[in-house]
């Protein structure tokens, strides 16, 4: 069974100037262990697709199944718990909480789940796995380089052992060398740990890391 499945999904934003169709009858199935790229020009519906995959948004029509759960009819709390327990987010801007130290940022999702007892050790373990030295654990995110911050963000996304990682231009704010290192890390997670990864990007070079690419244009899947 696919980790993410879209069946004839449509998303319409009603605007005063007329409805905007962001997704128009999209069918997608992403299986466990896949590394899938989502590409397309701006305005093609990438962000909308990503938001719905991340259960941050719901479709206007069609059926979306995430980690075996149909999201139609879910309320805000259900969607939030779905994000918390099954999805790992990696953003272009890292989006770490500035108030929390590196290790606290990573343990935060576990604390949301009420797993205080294991949170600290698990967070350290994952941080080491993504290549953050122990000396940085008590630093604030702002004290780290961009590449290091993105590693921390990946650790935070992985800490709850999600069904898939949802990455939104994860190398977009990094220089190419650091970006490559991050892609190597994600690729390793996919290859060695079997993590399903869905990544939205503009960067054509990313295709070499991926199993396949979903190309969007005007809200439709073209490839």
């Amino acid at each position: 069974m696919p980790v993410i499945s879209f069946e004839n999904v449509t998303k319409v934003y009603p605007l005063p100037a007329g409805d905007v169709v962001a997704l128009d009858g999209v069918d997608i199935a992403i299986d466990e262990g896949e590394f899938v790229l989502i590409m397309g020009p701006s305005g093609s519906g990438k962000s909308t697709l990503l938001n719905i995959m991340g259960s941050l948004d719901v479709p206007t029509s069609g059926e979306v199944t995430i980690a075996g759960r149909k999201i139609s009819g879910m309320d805000d709390d259900d969607l939030t718990l779905l994000r918390r327990d099954h999805i790992g987010f990696v953003f272009q801007q890292f989006n770490l909480i500035p108030l929390l130290s590196v290790v606290e940022n990573v343990e935060y999702p576990l604390i949301l789940k009420g797993r205080q007892n294991i949170a600290r050790n698990r967070a350290k373990e994952v941080l080491m796995a993504v290549g953050i030295a122990e000396t940085h654990f008590s630093h604030k995110p702002g004290e780290l380089s961009g590449g290091q911050q993105q590693r921390v963000a990946i650790a935070r996304a992985l800490v709850n052992d999600p069904d898939f990682l949802l990455c939104d231009e994860p190398t977009g704010n990094l220089d190419s060398k650091t970006g490559t290192a991050i892609m190597d890390l994600l690729s390793r997670m996919n290859r060695d740990e079997g993590k399903t990864i869905v990544m939205v990007t503009h960067d054509i070079r990313m295709t070499e890391y991926a199993d396949r690419t979903i190309q969007l244009e005007d809200g439709r899947v073209v490839v």
């Binding site: 991340g54 941050l56 948004d57 939030t80 989006n95 770490l96 999702p109 604390i111 709850n160």
Partner: protein
């Protein structure tokens, strides 16, 4: 790391802004507590000042009847109406009293000699008798003997007559019946002769059993006011009650003024927190996107308001105690009033209201934060 820790860190992040909000709460708590304590102290001061006259009725002539006096006959009627309860008629005037070279104008109470011991306690000397030309002086009159010459044994001359001061009264405090502390007490017989006067100004009725007060009052009114309003009967307990009701109302009013200042503090917390929600929109977006539920975001913000309130209430409570001490010591002159349970209760009430205001002010910003759309919040810069 918990939501509580996160709230503490958010407060510390903007410590100046948070401190100002806390100061608002502190001022509000102090205002409620101090004004409450002040009102309560005024009430306590009254009850300390006023002699315990809960057992007394005061019968005075109804306005305009008989020249505002009660005749001997009417006093006799009152005696009949009240049965075995004590009836003390008296008159009052003021006159020049001189002792040697010293002269002053003093209040004079004329009370039948045999009734004086029933009404007033003596400090020293004796009660005056109908014969013998004696009088008594009140405690404050005695205290001013250096100016007025009135002391035990002095010869006081009133309008050509000379009376000897045979006794000094105990301090009695403010009364609803008579206020003898600043007066001279003379036997009614002397007064009647001297001023050629047979009528009385008022009648004091001492009721033996306080529970009979209303019945005795009714009996007098029924007997005296059958045809027309001849007398007014005042119930001192009722006066006392209405005074306490008034001071209570003053207290509540004063505390209400304090509460207004706390509401202002609440508005400033509301403002601070709304600002904080706007500033942290992106952060809230992150928290929501990685799985923080609405109610958890809300809880985080309410914790912040709660912490501001608790800190403000704690500081305000301590300062209220100090301010209460100053208030009671300086304005009312008796710091003991601060330790009256009701005064202390005002401090607690101020603190509780401070916490409540703070949390109430945090509710709307917290709700607003929780309602943010995670997608839009994430995009916010």
């Amino acid at each position: 790391m918990t939501f509580f820790d996160l709230a503490v860190r958010n407060i510390k992040r903007h410590w100046l802004r948070s401190s100002l909000a806390v100061i608002g709460i502190v001022i509000g708590v102090i205002a409620i507590a101090t004004l409450g304590i002040m009102g309560n102290s005024i009430g306590l001061m009254f009850s300390d000042m006023v002699t315990d006259v809960g057992d007394t009725l005061i019968v005075s002539p109804a306005a305009g009847v008989g020249g505002g006096k009660l005749t001997d006959r009417e006093v006799t009627d009152i005696r009949r109406a009240v049965g075995s309860n004590v009836v003390i008629p008296f008159s009052t005037t003021a006159d020049k009293v001189s002792v040697g070279e010293k002269e002053s104008v003093v209040m004079i109470y004329a009370i039948p000699a045999e009734d004086i011991p029933l009404l007033l306690e003596k400090e020293s000397g004796n009660y005056p008798r109908d014969t013998g030309g004696g009088c008594m002086i009140g405690s404050q009159v005695a205290a001013n003997s250096r100016d007025n010459g009135l002391k035990l044994g002095a010869r006081a001359s009133i309008g050509g007559d000379t009376l000897r001061v045979v006794g000094v009264l105990k301090e009695r405090g403010l009364g609803f019946d008579i206020n003898p502390d600043y007066a001279i007490i003379v036997p009614y017989s002397w007064y009647s002769n001297h001023y050629d006067e047979d009528d009385y100004d008022q009648v004091i009725v001492k009721v033996r059993d306080v529970n009979d007060l209303d019945a005795v009052k009714a009996a007098i009114e029924q007997k005296m006011n059958r045809r027309e309003e001849v007398v007014n009967v005042m119930d001192t307990r009722g006066i006392l009650e209405s005074i306490f009701a008034a001071t209570d109302a003053i207290t509540v009013f004063l505390a209400g003024i304090g509460a207004v200042s706390l509401v202002v503090a609440g508005v400033s917390i509301l403002n601070v927190m709304l600002m904080s929600v706007t500033e942290r929109t992106k952060e809230i977006g992150i928290l929501r996107s990685i799985g923080t539920r609405r109610k958890e975001v809300m809880r985080m913000f309410i914790y912040e308001a709660l912490i501001l309130g608790l800190v403000g209430a704690a500081i305000g409570g301590v300062l209220s105690f100090c301010a209460g001490y100053v208030t009671t010591a300086v304005f009312v002159g008796n710091p003991d009033y601060l330790f009256h349970p009701k005064s202390l209760l005002y401090i607690l009430f101020g603190m509780a209201f401070g916490v409540f205001t703070s949390v109430a002010s945090g509710l709307y910003p917290a709700w607003k934060a929780a309602q943010l759309n995670p997608i839009e919040a994430l995009r916010y810069e």
